[in-house]
Amino acid sequence: MSAPALFDAPGPKTRALYNVFTVVALAVVAVIGYVVITKMGEKGQLAPYMWEPFLTPVAWVEYLIPGLLGTLRAAATAIVLALVFGLLFGMGRLSRSPFIRIPCGLVVEFFRAVPVLIMVIFAFGVYSGLQLFGSALNPFIAVVTALTLYNGSLIAELVRSGVNALPKGQSEAGLSIGLTRGQTLRQIQLPQALTAMLPALIGQTVVILKDSALGYSITYLDLLNWSKTLGSAYGNTIPAYIVAAGLFITLNYLLTRLASLVEHRLRSRGRTAGAVTQAIPAAPLGPPEGEEILHPHGHQEEPPR
């Protein structure tokens, strides 16, 4: 990724101006911090007894860790199922037969447009109305259903665009050596598309992890729900939510880092395969992050045998 150099190396005057900006910015942050802390102090939110529970194992063993496990269980199940759903419907959308392609397209577009929360509430209503899985399991399965349908549809789109973004020579080569269309898709196009999609897929797990908190509305015992219980038990609602947010942020931040790491590796691998390398202008634009639309890495050419 080459970022445009938006600004020149500063001269003495500009450096002085930057220093002014730095001081002003730090002052603004300090004022906000001061207001937050005094406001919390006034309401007794900074009292040691509010925060001490988090230093004891009880809060973790009985509230936060079960909460994290609940969130992770729903997210992990949904990721696996969404991958399966996404692969099936993504392949369906790439089918040449309109009888497969169009229904798959309708399903994907429908579930992409419906808000996850609406699906969560509806699935929960149906499951508990019909008493399908028992009241202990209903919320879990409802959350997983909604997350699978929504994220599976997004993954199906990723699969489709990933395969379509591959160079045409790939499928032509597959067909010319006598593979059927299905074989070409499965053995040549999908493996390449999936590798190129990997960063976006990891990014999707962040979405799933965050959306699993929607289970709060149907009493699924995730991290958010457990931290509410913790807040009521210790009378420290605000610290409990702040700690829960911290846990979510840490988890998701690590996943995002992983995604950009994988993207970086894929890209450097693509580069060694003979892609055009571009001189990168020196631009102090902060750390490059893998947030843009992914490009499939350059196709690797096998040496002729």
Binding site: P4, L26, Q45, P115, I121, Y241
Partner: protein, 220 residues
């Protein structure tokens, strides 16, 4: 089915969803642009502030932000926007939607900035524009045009995420949906009404965004 339609205020619920979406869009576009400018600013501290904001808010579930605004900010810290609980929840939902989606707007704009060839910024500087001027006159207009597609997805996501306001008692679409599901049986039709309602709100927008992003793309 007809009875359900007559007994519940579907139009009112969708009207609330639309209000939340429009206000949230305005808020997130304004805040998102500011954060995007911070993230490309030449001053390291400003960049760090922008990055810190995006990394914190974007990795927090919107549900948590919403619930926190009522259970934490309103009840405990006493930050009430209105004495009326419904109005208070509505405006907190607008604020939290704006805060949360501003990070997506920011990242969309930043990806737009990244599509601008370096020559544009260099040309702007060489004719003597300051950083602020080149941003206003040259870079941001192109960035907006180049980032219409991701901005559109951010707004569509915001419309869908406005349902999360149901968690704090705003009876928009999802709020009404949970009421109906709780009290009635045979709600498949109701589910389809809500699904179609959101399709109507998001599908034309998606088509318009695709059309606009092609039409307004900067020809290079």
């Amino acid at each position: 089915m007809g009875e359900i339609l007559a007994n519940y205020d579907f139009v009112g619920a969708f009207w609330l969803t639309i209000q939340l979406s429009v206000l949230g869009t305005i808020g997130s576009l304004l805040l998102g642009t500011i954060v995007a400018v911070l993230r490309v600013a030449p001053v390291p501290v400003l960049r760090a502030m922008g990055t810190g904001y995006v990394n914190t808010i974007r990795n927090t579930p919107l549900t948590l932000l919403m619930v926190f605004s009522i259970l934490g900010l309103t009840y405990i810290l006493g930050l009430q926007i209105s004495d009326n609980a419904k109005t208070n929840a509505f405006w907190w939902a607008v604020i939290m939607l704006s805060l949360y989606h501003a990070t997506y707007v920011c990242e969309a704009l930043r990806s737009g900035v990244n599509t601008i060839p370096p020559g544009q910024a260099e040309a702007a500087r060489s004719i003597g524009l300051t950083f602020g001027q080149s941003l206003r006159e040259v870079l941001l207009p192109q960035a907006f045009r180049g980032s219409i597609a991701p901005l559109g997805s951010a707004i569509i996501a915001l419309i869908k995420n406005s349902t999360v306001a149901a968690m704090i008692g705003v009876t928009e679409a999802a709020g009404l949906m949970s009421e109906v599901v709780e009290n009635e049986t045979g709600t498949l039709g109701v589910f389809f009404i809500f699904a179609v309602g959101f399709l109507i709100m998001t599908f034309p927008l998606g088509v318009a965004v695709t059309w606009m992003s092609e039409r307004l793309a900067v020809k290079r």
